[in-house]
Symmetry: C2
Subunit: 195 residues, 2 copies
Amino acid sequence: MGTRQIVPAGGGAGLRLARGERLRIIDIEGGQTGDLMAFSQDGRERLSNGRSFDYGGKIYLSTGDVLWSDRSNPMLTIVEDDVGRHDFLYAPCSLEMYRMQYSVTGYHANCHDNLRSALRALGIEPDSLPNAFNFFMNVEVLADGRLRIVEPRGRAGDSMVLRAEMDLAVALTACPTSSCNGGAAPRPIAYEIPS
Amino acid sequence: MGTRQIVPAGGGAGLRLARGERLRIIDIEGGQTGDLMAFSQDGRERLSNGRSFDYGGKIYLSTGDVLWSDRSNPMLTIVEDDVGRHDFLYAPCSLEMYRMQYSVTGYHANCHDNLRSALRALGIEPDSLPNAFNFFMNVEVLADGRLRIVEPRGRAGDSMVLRAEMDLAVALTACPTSSCNGGAAPRPIAYEIPS
């Protein structure tokens, strides 16, 4: 087993994965969501929700499904998934989102800035971040297309494992937005890179 | 009325919109889809499906709904819409998509390259294109999250009008992929910038 690392509640972390390595993401206390962003280590390819929806033929990805890059290469394959429901529709929460939707006036921790910081430390500074893969986040699409953020399905100790299909720079967050976390205050996420 | 311009079947076109100007997109023959990409004229902001889904609270956008930028500013508002169903989930068709999903071996016209070319002519060369807004394209999301591309709802002469909420560089395509166009060979799209 790899050493267990912690993404602090409301914070972020960066890591590198060599092709073939696996990343286990653990919902320590249950009901906590986060964002996963991936770039090729040379920074030329990035996660694409639109390519993943197209090539997967679906919006809900779980075991056996692939997260694709904007250049149509597989980045990560989900190889284990205790939770079974994740979101790939929502953009990372951002300061602007907190200002518009939550009337925040000062600074507020947010996944966008946490992803940016974690990627910067890995040498990745794109002109814009694409959508992240929002692991453990549960979003229903109603028949008329309206979206509803509902209770995450993850229980304490649940995890998912993704296998790197290329050399990757990855950023993870533990999302600070309570409405994504079943109304709870943000809690940490753990990860391991099993040897 | 502005002069009617043509986006050739399977091709693309670029245009600039000043804040407040309107763009009418016309389905000349009915059942034809296309991609719309928007950048701020300085190139710093780009269309974001994830922000638009979040702030609109829905995946199907129509009259009164806003296409948001990655920096959380309104780019375009839909102010008229005869068709009423568009897609914002699928990435632009690309050469890689044709190779993987249609076994194309040589070059094939594709919306990604057409958007890139049209934007380049407007001085916009981002490191990666985000998802486009796929006007007139009709995608159903089944209850389990699977996607189904179905017959477009547009009939001959139907149009939609978008109002620019900032100064924009816009690229349009008339999509060459028959499966998005109800099985028909690609046809042109028209547009006007009413004065």
